[in-house]
């Protein structure tokens, strides 16, 4: 079930095409990471989905009655309101029953770890506290879709961890679309990856799909010692190269030739310690995707 479908979504500012015919879908309860270098159109895309910007082409289909929470990259608050007053107002404006809004706001502030400063004016908040308050205002009405623009990049490592865990605990009931440039985190919480480059969607799929598309065709077979590895390189019918106590084959793990390799290894004795494919990190993939095309 999709909560949101985006078809050929485009945004032009004057002569600049900020977002160019982007297509994707968000399945209910999933996490989607929007990845791309600065100026690739992440914020523009999120702003259009949040209803802040009018698109100049394409369409956004929302599930009926979809409620959305939005966290901008740099949330800015009225400094003269307290965290609780602001969150309560946000809840009411998003349609929460006014009688329940305060309680809902308190619970949300507790959830993001701000309950101790709920009565303090936001004017004195640090950047990290504002980011948490931003999250609180985005989720106080329990929206079914959360749009988060760089939700963790301005936090310190501890805060980042806490917020990631918090977001992960929402998955299932909440669909999350977030942009990030901290790729380790994207690796941790993602059912779908969207790579944007110059406003265009240049790669998309699950982490595994994207990985296998960009993984180097390289299988390492680790032997007991250098001799065994060199013998394999010499005698086996494949163009392997020796690398210490391992032989490196220029194939991918899922290629059918691997069946033959396993059979050969079983028949020709010698202990094999392991067969591994080096997994590409998102960072490597990111660099490739951005460099290509």
């Amino acid at each position: 079930m999709n909560v949101l479908e985006v078809r050929a979504l485009s945004k032009r500012f004057g002569t600049e095409q900020a977002v160019d015919r982007v297509d994707f879908e968000l399945t209910e309860g999933s996490a989607t990471a929007l990845i791309g270098p600065n100026g690739s159109g992440k914020t523009t895309t999120l702003s259009m989905l949040a209803g802040l910007l009018e698109s100049t082409g394409g369409e956004i289909q929302r599930k009926k009655g979809l409620s959305v929470g939005f966290l901008p990259q740099y949330p800015r608050f009225f400094p003269w309101l307290t965290a609780l007053e602001f969150t309560e107002m946000a809840a009411k404006l998003s349609g929460v029953d006014p009688r329940k809004a305060r309680q809902q706001a308190q619970r949300t502030l507790e959830f993001v770890g701000l309950h101790q400063v709920a009565g303090k004016k936001v004017g004195g908040f640090s950047g990290g506290m504002k980011q948490r308050l931003g999250l609180a205002q985005a989720m106080v009405h329990q929206p079914s879709l959360l749009l988060l623009d760089e939700p963790i990049s301005s936090l310190d490592p501890t805060g980042r961890r806490e917020v990631m865990e918090l977001l992960k605990s929402l998955l299932g009931q909440t669909t999350i679309l977030y942009s990030t440039h901290i790729l380790n985190d994207a690796e941790e919480m993602t059912d779908q990856l969207l790579f944007l480059r110059k406003g265009r969607l240049v790669e998309q799929g699950s982490l595994d799909q994207v990985r296998s598309r960009y993984a180097d065709p390289q299988i390492q077979i680790r032997f007991e010692n250098t001799d065994a590895a060199e013998r394999f390189v010499r005698e086996s019918p494949w163009p392997a190269t020796a690398k210490g106590a391992a032989a490196v084959l220029p194939v991918k793990a899922e290629e059918p030739v691997m069946q033959d390799v396993f059979r050969y290894l079983a028949a020709n004795g010698g202990r094999v310690l392991g067969v591994e494919q080096e997994t590409a990190s998102l960072e490597d993939i990111f660099l490739k995707v951005v460099a290509e095309k």
Binding site: F78, P79, G123, G124
Partner: protein, 64 residues
């Protein structure tokens, strides 16, 4: 020359002016990010009668 009636009439005005000045000064002290140096605004508020506090409220305190 300053008779009782004059005093009664002028006194509330002086009190209002004083209140305006005190409000502006208290706000300035609590303001973490005034639009310009604090000592400058303090001087403007105290020295420029009425106009000083108004200038501070309009220009000095950044209303956001």
């Amino acid at each position: 020359m300053i008779d009782e009636q004059a005093l009664l009439l002028v006194l509330p005005i002086l009190l209002l002016q004083l209140a305006l000045m005190i409000f502006a000064l208290v706000d300035l002290i609590k303001n973490p990010n005034p639009n310009g140096p604090k000592w400058m605004w303090a001087a403007i508020i105290v020295l420029l009668n009425i106009i000083g506090p108004i200038l501070y409220f309009i220009i000095g305190r950044r209303n956001y």
